[in-house]
Amino acid sequence: MASGIKDKVAILGMGCSKFGERWNDNAEDLIVEAFIEAIEDAGIDKSQIDAAWFGTGIEEQHVGKSAVPLSMALRLPNIPVTRVENYCASGSEALRGAVYAVASGAADIAMAVGVEKLKDTGYGGLPQRSRGAVNDLFWANASAPGSFAQLATAYSAKHNVSAADLKRAMAHISIKSHDNGSKNPKAHLRNKITEDKVMNAPMIAEPLGLFDCCGVSDGSAVAIVTTPEIAKALGKKDLVTVKAMQLAASNGREAQHNSWDGSHFVTTRAAAKRAYQEAGITNPRDQISMFEVHDCFSITELVTMEDLFISSDGRAVNDIMDGLFDADGKIPCQIDGGLKCFGHPIGASGIRMVYEMYLQMHGRAGERQRAEEPVFGMTHNLGGFPHQNICSLTIVGKEGA
């Protein structure tokens, strides 16, 4: 395996807009809001940015194609800007571009920007749209919740977990995210909920009820990265560096070959092994201080804790009910509210996850700050469907850890 990018790139500054129903803002307004925070945090002038990557998932709903909308919104000085799209992992993909540019030496300072403006469709949930001319001929009439809901039926069947026990663990996940979101001023949803409310909510796609699903939001997040040396030269201390970035894409095995049982993510497991190796982590359950995982649906978070090798197979329900991933638990997961409550503006989500790691590691997370600053944080940004998806993992941590 390649030597990897551990500690080759440091985060110089980050910003994140308020997520939510931003009725009066265009995508460009959200980008600028996140960018101003990030550039001030970085303490540089935008002329010092050598290159930028721009992540959006459903650009036809807002900015349209290409990287030009980013360059125009920020009036970037004709630097290279690349637009990337990889389903809901588009934000992480933008960050990966910027980090790799710095790690390679091609850029001294690079920027990743993610944005999505989804509340212009006229209805809740992700836009219903074509999946491509050929796919439309034979793909099931599947929504995101309907696709992810099937994890629950397959997981129950495989691990012999009753539908009721599983549903209760899923409810715990959502209650936790609402508790956490209530402490996050930038979160889309800040209300607390009860188990009764979750269990009795309208069904969206069996067995996922309304509170098992994250909403969709408007929002933007920005990361500015550089080398540790330049960061220090710019006066930064206690650097947060990138320990690993790994991506895995489905190759059709889950969708077309009978070796997958539908209860877990093949891609997450493949990417996690590589990420831990790249970061030099041998015992993730003990070494990772906190997680932000792609909790598009409660069941996704549940199986992901096994796919990241934190909970052993079939035991996530127990860890969840034991409070292991609660804000005050041993390994908090979604301490910022997650996709569920911070919100899910697709292209911004992957960068938003790293933003929370960055705040926590600098002791700047306000009311939700962990007493003990995290050492390693891991983000899991997933795009697509359980049977064909993109999984993007990032591990960040304190320099030298």
Partner: protein
């Protein structure tokens, strides 16, 4: 060379709308409909049309390995989904037939079914192989009309030719009279009907006897020898009245399926014939007579083969496999009888690239995938590189049909977010017993059905999407439970 019926099959859609529910909705306007309010009528699901029903009945009639020598596919209907695109051609495609066949549509009259049958019997004498004849109807009826109550949806198919026939044609006769009891003009959605008493007295009771007496005379069969007399019209006691007038035994009058199906337009006489064959003994003489701008009358005599050549399900099995449906509003919604607010999600443009469609027709219409000749892995869709990670061979996949393969269901959901004309949308991962899998739409699932991981599924040909802007529809295959539970539903 003696020709006749080599095989037969039928299909009646699962859902049976309770007529009292239709009547209840209209009693305020037309209390006179009460006389038609008993029993139930079959209704096509939202994703069924005359082509899909024809396909299902044809599959019931001829197994995949019996399609090799078929020389022609005829389809009869007055409710074709396409005015200009051969509907029989879609049926042939769905049945994964070769291109060296004749395909032909018959339409424009309630006699279309018997017309196609008569032509098939004549043509098969000189044909290179048997002719597959299928007929199906999915008639639109005005809310509050008598036809809404008396009509049903369904299909029947016959394999016509020589050889091991189950029924030989003794003779046929056609009368052509431009008697317009009802019509549907070029731009009309619904039939326009004239007074039933006139239709009965001047139409049924005068034109039909002329045709029947002629065929009896031609064949030398005496009316009293007729074992089964099939006459498809819904009006009560007409068949019995005709039998009496013609000297046919009262016992020979076949049930016109008004109580449990309804009259399926031009297909109904063939549905009745398929049912009669399913219930026949060797040596039975079956007289069928259709009515529509004249009358076609045909007499068949069953052979010993009637005992051994059986459809998979047939009309009898299909009729038994019904599910009571009390939701008249849903029926209206499926048939554009209500201006429903379907939500913005329903507005997605379903345009189909005809190039895309043609290039992928084996996948999309025939459900042909690939089987790797190196490792044997069956996969859908067919692709250039084998999906088996331990193989990965390039250009090794041979055509492999999934349409008739049994699958096991691995996971499922009932989705209320995605747009479906009949929410929730049911779909899930199905895994074929001989390899291959698909995240597949399910069809004909009711909330009362118990879906369980591991249950067996089979594929059915259905409408995938309607492009309402361009009046195109694309078809694909969906999964249904092999042993569907049969319960009532609201």
């Amino acid at each position: 060379m003696e020709v006749g019926i080599l095989a037969y099959g039928g299909y009646i859609p699962k859902s049976r709308l309770q007529r009292d529910q239709i009547f209840k909705a209209h009693a305020w306007f037309n209390p006179g409909l009460k006389g038609l309010s008993r029993g139930e009528r079959s209704i096509a699901n939202w994703d069924e049309d005359s082509v899909t029903m024809a396909v299902e009945s044809a599959r019931d009639c001829v197994a995949p390995d019996q399609r090799e020598n078929i020389s022609a596919v005829y389809m009869a209907s007055t409710t074709f989904p396409f005015q200009d695109r051969q509907n029989a051609g879609i049926v042939a495609d769905a049945l994964n037939m070769k291109s060296n066949i004749q395909t032909l549509d018959f339409t424009s009259s309630m006699r279309a079914g018997t017309a196609a049958l008569t032509v098939a019997l004549q043509a098969s004498k000189g044909a290179e192989g048997p002719i597959l004849l299928t007929s199906a109807e999915n008639r639109m009826t005005k809310a509050g009309s008598a036809l809404e109550l008396t009509t049903g949806d369904g299909a029947a198919s016959f394999l016509i030719g020589s050889g091991n026939i189950v029924a030989r044609l003794l003779g046929s006769h056609s009368e052509s009279v431009d008697f317009v009891d009802h019509f549907r003009g070029e731009s009309a959605e619904y039939d326009y009907t004239w007074e039933e008493r006139w239709v009965k007295e001047e139409g049924y009771m005068k034109i039909v006897p002329t045709a029947v007496n002629s065929v009896l005379e031609k064949t030398g069969v005496s009316a009293s020898d007729i074992t089964t007399f099939c006459f498809p019209v819904a009006a009560r006691n007409v068949a019995a009245g005709l039998a009496k007038k013609l000297g046919i035994s009262e016992d020979a009058v076949a049930d016109n399926l008004q109580s449990n199906c309804g009259e399926a337009g031009s297909a109904h006489i063939l549905i009745m014939l398929a049912k009669a064959l399913q219930e026949a003994k060797p040596g039975d003489k079956i007289l069928i007579a259709s009515f529509g701008q004249g009358c076609d009358a045909l007499i068949f005599e069953t052979t010993d083969a009637i005992k051994t050549v059986r459809p998979n399900t047939g009309i009898t099995g299909s009729l038994a496999n019904g599910r009571a449906d009390s939701n008249y509003n849903r029926f209206l919604a499926f048939n554009d009888g209500l201006r429903m607010d379907l939500g913005i999600r329903a507005e997605v443009d379903k345009n189909t690239g005809l190039t895309t469609h043609y290039r992928n027709r084996y996948m999309a219409q025939r459900m042909v995938g690939g089987k790797c000749s190196k490792c044997g892995t069956a996969q859908f869709p067919k692709s250039n590189i084998c999906v088996n990670e331990n193989c990965g061979a390039i250009n090794t996949q041979e055509d492999y049909s999934f349409a008739d393969k049994i699958a096991q269901m691995n996971s499922f959901t009932a989705d209320r977010l995605t747009y479906s004309p009949d929410p929730p949308a049911y779909y899930g991962m199905i895994q074929f017993e001989e390899g291959g899998r698909l995240m597949s739409d399910f069809a004909d699932i009711s909330p009362d059905d118990e879906l369980t991981v591991g249950m067996k599924m089979r594929m059915v040909f259905r409408v995938k999407d309607y492009d309402t802007k361009r009046d195109f529809r694309r078809y694909f295959w969906k999964a249904v439970p092999v042993n569907a539970t049969q319960k009532g539903s609201e």
